[in-house]
């Protein structure tokens, strides 16, 4: 056993990430080519290149930090996140961003990074207890605080992303299926209460227009219909790079951020989208493999958290773009334009890579 273990990067993850990032830059270039976008800001794709490069640096840097470090500082990160979310609530009112110089910072994206860490830490600290009711109430309270803070921003989408993370980590952490079943029942009871009390009218509209988009094609149902038309009209082979009329002529709103998949679907077509999905699937399954082979529970929980976050966001984003889920503002990981989302996603993948190192180390 050598003193310094031979660190090998996970080739599958690295290549998938690089392919997706390259794809992202191309798609953002295409999506922001119209006059409106160029008037707004000249080169979104240049910014995305910058963020992607920065993201790669962050990813590599974090991959060298032992993941146990993250577990150690997880509770501090958790409270920082909560404080930032509270500050946002007080100082910005109903907003999702802090402005830092020319850039904006989205604390809810930070939460996507810190929540899996904090949840893992909590499950590790309460080994055995997490399985019983007392532990579950604690862990529930822990996730509910930031969840509520995010939902009142209002950012329902990001809030919803934490639900599968929560279930996944509890499940991997050892809570029995039975308890999780109770929880789901509880949430099903809470959902209508939430709908009638806390939900903002625009969120209700989105939900209603999802159920029947044709009822108001130029109003509430507009983005769902236009996105479906964009994806559907791509056909098998797509309309070609920068040739999608739906995307290029701005029929699809937010086509460089939340609706980037509409551009992909329209310009690339079914076959290339299938390949893109394969890249995502390979990335996610590789993450799952890492989780499964992690040398300890901490690594397993962290990797599972990353996998569940990626999967949840991917499914919610694409599901919205193809009209099987209501419109909620969730970015497509690694593809949507946006610095915070990209950086924290890359940071999570960095942790995943470090978990991967640990397997190599022990197997040597």
């Amino acid at each position: 056993m050598p003193k310094t273990p031979a660190k090998t990067f996970n080739v599958v993850i690295l290549s998938c990430v690089c392919i997706l990032l390259a794809f992202s830059v191309l798609m953002i270039y295409s999506a922001t080519n119209s006059v409106e976008y160029r008037a707004l800001y000249k080169a979104f794709y240049l910014r995305q290149i910058m963020w992607a490069s920065l993201g790669l640096v962050v990813m590599f840097a974090i991959s060298y930090i032992n993941y146990s470090t993250w577990i150690e500082i997880a509770d501090k990160l958790y409270w920082i996140t909560v404080i930032l979310l509270v500050l946002l609530l007080f100082f910005r009112g109903s907003m999702r961003w802090f402005h830092i110089g020319p850039f904006t910072f989205q604390p809810s994206e930070l939460a996507k990074f810190t929540m899996p860490l904090a949840l893992s830490r909590f499950i590790l600290d309460n080994k055995g207890k997490a399985e019983v009711l007392e532990g579950m109430i604690k862990i529930g309270a822990m996730i509910v605080i930031p969840l509520i803070l995010i939902i009142v921003q209002p950012d329902l989408g990001t809030g919803l992303v934490f639900v599968p993370l929560f279930f996944c980590l509890l499940y991997v952490g050892g809570v029995s299926i039975r308890y999780l079943g109770y929880l789901i029942t509880l949430m099903a009871i809470f959902a209508p209460v939430y709908y009638f009390t806390l939900m903002k009218s625009y969120q209700k509209n989105r939900l209603l227009s999802f159920l029947n988009p044709e009822s108001d094609p130029l109003g509430k149902g507009y983005s769902i219909i236009q996105s479906k038309i964009a994806v559907g009209s791509g056909g098998i082979f797509g309309k070609g790079f920068m040739k999608g009329t739906q995307s290029q002529l701005n029929f699809v709103p937010e086509n460089h951020t939340d609706f980037i998949f509409a551009v992909v679907g329209e310009e690339m077509g079914f076959l290339l989208v299938f390949i893109l999905l394969l890249a995502y699937l390979m990335l996610i399954l590789e993450g799952l493999k890492i989780a499964m082979h992690a040398k300890d529970k901490a690594g397993m929980l962290l990797a599972s958290g990353v996998v569940s976050l990626l999967t949840a966001q991917l499914f919610m984003n694409i599901g919205m773009a193809i009209g099987i889920l209501p419109v909620v503002g969730v970015p497509l990981p690694l593809l949507s334009y946006g610095g915070s989302s990209l950086l924290f996603t890359m940071a999570l993948i960095g942790i995943l890579l470090n978990v991967h190192f640990s397997i190599k180390r022990s197997s040597l």
Partner: protein
């Protein structure tokens, strides 16, 4: 070690579950994509295309209408049209109210037009045509989403001959016609005259322009076009110079003038007065102006030549005369004595000349328009034969002129009176009928046609106003041919010659062009008497026949109408001479 392995298998099971969940989610996405992109791809491509494509109707230019000499009477001029694209109407209430304001329209009118074309949201709906350029400038400044300004052909009546009743006018398609999917909102449709009768020929086929737009409805680039097919041109039988002469002669009076070729039915001139300016219908139409026209007691829309019904009066005497001669009830040698009054049982009937004409044969009677002679002749012929001859001469049926609104008139007889007046036919009715009064009603064109039959020795050609459709000439067609013995025709024509040329009632029409004809002064139960004159020339080989009919003029046919027909016929020959001279000089 045993514990560890058990933990391992448990973990393995968990990850297998998670794996299944992840794979299922991906399968859901792929299946949905397969549905959207592969199975329904064509459908969504169509939607994407119409999403970014706006269809602007490219309205066809209607065919030109020219007179017999190629003078353009109706053409098309460019005008600004404001339309709305429903799909681009982002702020509908705001845009509609702004538009209503700028275009001086009712908001409800705009909304009903939009609803009229509801199923075609990517197609521009015409809101208003003939918009003045200042308003267009204002519109472009306010930059309302979904509003388009295009240039379109507008019907223009050049005024070379203000023959409104011949040409008619066009109007915009109404919502009913649009809902039958025959037309688009804003299409021009012939509403009267030649424009209406020949609408399908003149109309042409609309084209369309497709324009790629972005989500804000901004025009980006043309995406294809289907050019319109221009309507077919029409050439009329009208001679605009003669038409203008007639216009000048009738101005200020109520009535009509028709001049035509008795040998083939071509109408050279047809005016009815009062009239209207057909240009007012092509663009904006002031509602007040419209209701003023439509409710006017002068009835400017009535084409008196074919839709006005009057008793023909003394011009009808040729029918009575022909009937008596043909039925051998009378010869040229038979004389009646006119003492100015005629007694039949206990009733008396005056001649228009109260001191009487003295002894008259049929030629004298026509020449002097002696009523007493024809009262007695009518009694000889009897009502059945009189009615039958009226029908031979074209009364009671439409002449077949290619304009709408022609009326049949009434040829009364015993059965007719029984049916409509529930009363017997009295000899007094026959007496009245013999001089063209009583219940007999006819249009001025029918009156003229009865003379055309006489002039043409029994042949009648269908009067027509369109000389050629595109390149194709309209062939004259004979409507009927009745056999009248030529010696009888000679007698009646002699009477008509006498009327004008030998000091008869028509002497005011005497001319170097050998005009013959007949006057009529018609009793009008509703007011002053009508005056008319029907003439033709040259006597021996007539090439023009004309009628002037003045409603309620109060004057006599000889004083009011005969000079007008004379002027028309003289103008005809003058125009003909000029044309011949021009053609001759061309030959040199």
């Amino acid at each position: 070690m045993v514990f560890k392995r058990q933990q391992d298998t448990e973990d393995r099971k968990k990850f297998k579950t998670i794996l299944i969940v992840i794979i299922s989610l991906f399968v859901i996405i792929v299946l949905r994509l397969f549905w959207l992109q592969v199975i329904r791809g064509g459908y969504y491509s169509g939607l994407a295309l119409s999403n970014s494509t706006r269809v602007i109707p490219d309205r066809a230019c209607r065919g030109l209408i020219s007179d017999r000499n190629g003078e353009i009477l109706v053409n098309n001029v460019p005008s600004f049209t404001v339309s709305l694209v429903p799909a681009d109407l982002k702020k509908k209430d705001y845009v509609v109210s702004e538009l209503a304001n700028l275009l001086e329209l009712n908001e409800d009118d705009i909304l009903s037009k939009l609803d009229g074309q509801q199923n075609r949201v990517f197609e521009a709906v015409k809101i208003k045509g003939d918009v003045p350029s200042q308003v267009v400038a204002q519109l472009e400044e306010s930059n309302l989403p979904g509003v388009r300004v295009d240039t379109e052909p507008k019907r223009n009546y050049t005024g070379k001959a203000s023959s409104c009743h011949v040409l008619g006018y066009v109007g915009e398609s109404n919502l009913e016609e649009v809902s039958n999917n025959q037309f688009c909102i804003g299409d021009s449709i012939g509403r009267a005259g030649v424009e209406k009768r020949y609408d399908e020929i003149l109309r042409g086929v609309n084209g369309s322009r497709e324009i790629e737009v972005d989500s804000a409805g901004r025009q980006l680039k043309p995406a294809g076009s289907k050019p319109f097919v221009k309507g077919t041109d029409l050439s009329l039988t009208i001679d605009s110079k003669l038409q203008n002469v007639c216009e000048g002669l009738i101005r200020g009076r109520k009535g009509c003038i028709i001049a035509m070729n008795p040998k083939n039915g071509e109408i050279y001139a047809l005016v009815s007065y009062p009239g209207f300016n057909p240009n007012i219908f092509s663009g904006k139409l002031d509602k007040r102006e419209w209701s003023g026209l439509i409710n006017s007691p002068e009835m400017p829309f009535l084409n008196r030549a074919v839709s006005g019904l009057y008793s023909p009066g003394s011009t009808f005497k040729i029918v009575t005369a022909t009937a008596a001669l043909e039925e051998r009830l009378l010869t040229e040698k038979d004389y009646f004595d006119c003492r100015g009054i005629f007694w039949y049982s206990d009733w008396n009937y005056n001649c228009w000349k109260l001191d009487g004409h003295g002894s008259q044969n049929i030629v004298d009677a026509i020449g002097h328009s002696c009523d007493i002679f024809f009262y007695q002749t009518g009694l000889l012929v009897k009502v059945e034969k009189l009615a039958a001859y009226s029908r031979f001469f074209g009364f009671g049926t439409e002449s077949g002129l290619d304009l709408d609104g022609e009326r049949k008139g009434i040829v009364p007889d015993a059965a007719w009176k029984e049916k409509f007046h529930n009363s017997h036919w009295f000899p007094g009715n026959t007496i009245q009928l013999a001089i063209g009064q009583s219940y007999l009603l006819a249009t001025p064109l029918q009156m003229l046609d009865s003379y055309n039959i006489l002039i043409n020795d029994g042949m009648l050609y269908r009067p027509h106003i369109v000389r050629s459709i595109g390149e194709q000439l309209v062939q004259p067609s004979a409507v009927k041919s009745i056999s009248i013995r030529s010696e009888d025709l000679v007698i009646v024509k002699k009477g008509l010659w006498r009327s004008v040329n030998l000091g008869g009632t028509g002497r005011n029409a005497k001319s170097i062009y050998e005009i013959a004809g007949k006057t009529a002064t018609i009793e009008n139960p509703h007011g002053p008497s009508h005056a008319s004159f029907i003439g033709f020339a040259p006597f021996n080989n007539p090439e023009i026949s004309a009628i002037a009919f003045f409603e309620g003029s109060g004057g006599g046919g000889g004083t009011d109408a005969a000079p007008v027909v004379k002027s028309v016929i003289e103008a005809y020959f003058k125009i003909k001479k000029e044309k011949n001279a021009k053609n001759a000089s061309k030959d040199f």
